[in-house]
């Protein structure tokens, strides 16, 4: 089993070898080992600016998802107020909306020529509204990303709050702490690993993104990578810049892994916090905070899509059903495969802790931007002259999805498995159960929820995935995400309403299921 696990893990690590290929075999990609020409040009003129805007972006989004994620998690976990039952699950819904769709809608709605500014200008009789913030800006990008990605922080932090804060807060209150003091002095520091883990996930998404960022007219490090690749036709320089970005992502990644490892030491005592019933001003505040988050994160994008659809009229493109079918097929297949693999790896490590490195390695996939991952796969296949395979089979695409998304299902399964302590196995064995029976009667029921969560995460992610799909899909295999992108590229915003609304709707079911699973946990 050890060998199989190690071998499988290496197989899933191939795209990274693909990226390193030009360095291992410099002859393949060109004579120079370093693309000095392109990189020094970019370094001289633009790279500095890209780095600064990237830093501002991740600091801004980091702050945004912190405020929205932790704020909502805290309110939901510790207070009782009207609408809480709905907010509890509804706050996960923004996960179903792809960031690039949010970007299209956000800009379309708020730009100078958009409906809101135009109406305001007519009402005020002004030529321009100096006070109106430009949506196509760093600020706009930070705003939209924050509302798209905060559920990562919300989900994980809420669980941390629920699991650990109950007795603590009660004790601290008897000792004279106010609720707020308990939050800042006790709960937040204790939930820190969970918060960091959620933030790291969100920030990795930001760094990996190119589509939404470029739609906002913001030039980040990813812009540099694409400029090297597209404008200068210098794949080597692009790969080198991508590796530079990756080393940065790696930092966040290790930070996240470290946070998670601390997460495990926390005891999950069963004492739950009894939510405090709010009244008056604080009740209003809690409702407004959660309500506005939901409004900007989900209700407005959904309403904008519906309105676009209404204006467009329901003329269904003949290709629509094949887009839908392909998306569902790819997402379900990948989800299933990922869950099985995650289960396998999680058990492999449980049985032989020496293999822990394997799972750390696999976690890296999530940190790979989709386009970089795709280039890695291409480079690898190119070296062995197998790239034609992409055109003839969907397997390469599913492989890329698995590499990218396995880590999220692995996390979920590992967490589930860590709840089953060895002593439980021991007791079961004492009661006369065989190993298989232990697996069936003890592990499976306890793992069921984690497995569902694992599969759903991957399903939603694959539905939304774009860059790897664009580069690695076979003939006649367009997905909803691809269709949405191509309509946007052709500047047909109205027509993208139907495919993107479908992505949201199809993503909604798993997310709702997920929220049910989670609210029961």
């Amino acid at each position: 089993m050890n060998r199989i696990a190690a071998l499988l893990a290496l197989l899933l690590f191939l795209p990274l070898f693909g990226l390193a290929m030009p360095f291992l075999f410099p002859g393949v990609e060109g004579s120079a080992l370093l693309a000095i020409d392109t990189i020094s040009h970019l370094g001289n003129f633009v790279l500095g600016g890209y780095v600064i805007s990237t830093l501002i972006l991740i600091i801004g989004v980091g702050l945004g998802v912190f405020i929205l994620g932790v704020g909502n998690a805290w309110i939901i976990a510790s207070y009782e107020f009207p609408g809480k039952k709905i907010f509890e699950w509804a706050l996960i819904l923004p996960l179903a909306v792809p960031t690039y769709v949010t970007a299209y809608l956000f800009v379309d709605l708020l730009q100078f020529s958009g409906p809101i500014q135009s109406t305001l200008r007519t009402m005020l009789g002004a030529e321009s509204l100096w006070f109106f913030p430009d949506p196509r800006s760093l600020g706009g990008a930070i705003w939209a990303f924050s509302f798209c990605l905060f559920p990562y922080v919300y989900l994980i932090t809420r669980t941390a709050f629920l699991e650990r804060s109950g007795r603590l807060i009660e004790v601290s209150e008897t000792l004279g702490y106010s609720h707020l003091q308990a939050l800042t002095k006790l709960v937040l520091p204790m939930a820190r690993p969970a918060i960091f883990a959620g933030m790291a996930l969100a920030l990795m998404e930001v760094l990996a993104d190119f589509g939404a960022v470029s739609y906002f007219g913001v030039q980040t490090f990813a812009t540099g990578i694409f400029k090297a690749w597209l404008s200068f036709g210098d794949r080597l320089a692009a790969i080198q810049l991508a590796l530079g970005l990756l080393s940065f992502v790696l930092l966040i990644f290790f930070f996240e892994q470290h946070s998670r490892s601390q997460l495990r030491y926390a005891s999950s005592s069963e004492s739950r916090l009894t939510p405090k019933i709010l009244s008056g001003g604080s009740r209003f505040f809690a409702f407004t905070f959660c309500g506005l988050t939901l409004l900007f994160g989900f209700l407005m994008p959904a309403a904008a899509l519906l309105q676009l659809l209404y204006k467009q009229g329901l003329s269904i493109d003949i290709r629509y059903f094949s887009w839908l079918g392909n998306s569902l097929f790819a997402a379900a297949g990948t989800a299933l495969l990922s869950v099985v693999l995650a289960l396998f790896f999680a058990y492999a490590v449980r049985l032989s802790p020496r293999l822990a490195w394997v799972n750390r390695l696999l976690g890296f996939g999530y940190a790979l931007p989709g386009a970089v991952l795709a280039i890695g796969v291409l480079s690898f296949l190119e070296t062995f002259q197998l790239a034609w395979w992409i055109s003839s089979s969907i397997l390469v695409l599913v492989y890329a999805y698995v590499v990218r998304f396995l880590s999220s299902s692995l996390q979920s399964v590992e967490t589930g498995l860590s709840r089953i302590t060895p002593s439980m196995d021991g007791s079961a064995a004492l009661l006369g159960l065989s190993k298989i029976q232990i697996l069936r009667k003890v592990h499976v029921p306890l793992l069921k929820r984690s497995l569902i969560t694992a599969g759903l995460f991957v399903f939603v992610d694959v539905m939304k995935e774009l860059p790897a799909t664009l580069l690695l899909r076979p003939f006649n295999f367009d997905t909803l995400a691809v269709a949405t992108y191509q309509l946007a590229a052709d500047e047909r915003l109205a027509e993208l309403a139907l495919p993107s609304l479908t992505i949201v709707l199809v993503g909604l079911f798993p997310v709702l299921l997920l929220s049910r699973v989670i609210s029961k946990s």
Partner: protein, 353 residues
């Protein structure tokens, strides 16, 4: 719970079986009734175009549509084993790049040579011609009728002059359409003069370069920008639109054909050629010839708002007619491609975003 596991493994088996069948059903076999198309075009109207070809010839088209670069990346990686038969791209510089990268197989086709004008195809050599342009779009100037006098913006050069300070909008300089325009300008005026021009453009910007071509037109109509550059294809789409909000947009803008007294308006092409190792080379040539036929050329004009490359084709498109006739730049599109990197570099130097 056993049932759960059984079901799970059954599902898995089915999935893998599904994936495998999918793989088996995919085209790679040589048959004359199939054609593998790598296309950077992704217009709904092209469905009808391809369907028409299949109806006429019985040849089924398998497609991958992605942007030019994703296609190039795939072709490069697939190398000699590539299943591609026909490669279609939507920018002259990209076509040139694809030629340099050796993606095309030169072909001899009397029909194509007689139909497609010489400046809209690759330079022929004894082995044949690598790629042909099938439709053209122009980069023209749109202005806000209330704010700008058309005489002040009737050349690309004037946009960079002080008279247009604070009025100019374009999309990002890194976009292929912009790079090709600037590549053409380098060819006409040299690199130093073009850099001066780009500097002037940056100084005249009403806002940082951003958005697509439709966004530029909207920005001009709303008064955010006085003048902008746009691809004719998007303008014609708005001109033809029956939606009230689009008509309101159109009523506020005017357009000028730039550089009519001098070098002519910049045009770009969509075109393609036969892939180097095409498994169905015959069908590929047949498809290209079909694209130059009257019926296909009419699709480009009437369905997708592009000018047909074949001059004799009758246009039945109100929007295109509204744009009228114009003098087009007479630069070999190949030279545009050659200047692309220089264009990007000078834009970076003058901080053109």
């Amino acid at each position: 719970m056993q049932i759960v596991f059984k079901n799970l493994s059954l599902c898995l088996l089915l999935t893998i079986a599904g994936l495998a069948t999918n793989a088996a059903a995919q085209p790679h076999k040589d048959s004359d009734k199939e054609l593998n198309l790598y296309s950077a075009r992704h217009y709904q109207t092209d469905e009808a175009l391809y369907g028409d070809f299949t109806k006429k010839t019985g040849i089924k088209i398998n497609r991958i549509e992605a942007d030019d670069n994703a296609l190039a990346e795939r072709l490069k990686s697939e190398g000699a084993n590539s299943p591609a038969d026909v490669i279609l791209m939507v920018d002259a510089a990209r076509l040139w790049r694809a030629q340099i990268d050796g993606f095309f197989k030169p072909i001899h086709s009397k029909y194509l040579e007689s139909r497609i004008p010489a400046n809209l195809r690759a330079k022929p050599d004894p082995e044949g011609t690598t790629w042909f342009g099938f439709s053209t779009r122009a980069r023209l100037v749109v202005y806000n009728k209330a704010k700008v006098n058309p005489q002040d913006v009737d050349t690309y050069e004037k946009l960079a002059e002080p008279i247009n300070k604070g009025k100019v909008c374009t999309r990002s300089g890194a976009h292929p359409y912009m790079l090709s325009l600037i590549g053409a300008m380098i060819e006409r005026r040299g690199e130093a003069a073009t850099e001066e021009w780009a500097k002037g453009m940056v100084a005249n910007m009403a806002r940082p370069p951003r958005g697509g071509d439709t966004d530029q037109i909207k920005a001009v109509a709303s008064g955010e920008c006085g003048v902008a550059l746009t691809n004719s294809y998007y303008l014609v789409r708005l001109l033809r639109s029956t939606k009230p909000e689009d008509q309101a947009l159109v009523s506020k803008i005017g357009f000028v054909w730039p550089n009519q007294q001098t070098t002519g308006a910049h045009i770009n092409i969509a075109g393609g050629g036969v892939a180097k190792n095409a498994p169905h080379a015959l069908a590929a040539t047949q498809f290209l010839e079909y694209l130059a036929s009257d019926s296909a050329q009419e699709y480009f004009a009437n369905g997708n708002n592009e000018w047909p490359a074949v001059k004799s084709v009758k246009i039945d498109n109100e929007g295109l007619k509204m744009l009228g006739t114009f003098k087009a730049e007479n630069i070999s599109v190949a030279s545009i491609g050659k200047n692309q990197i220089a264009a990007q570099r000078l834009l970076d130097r003058v901080a053109y975003k």
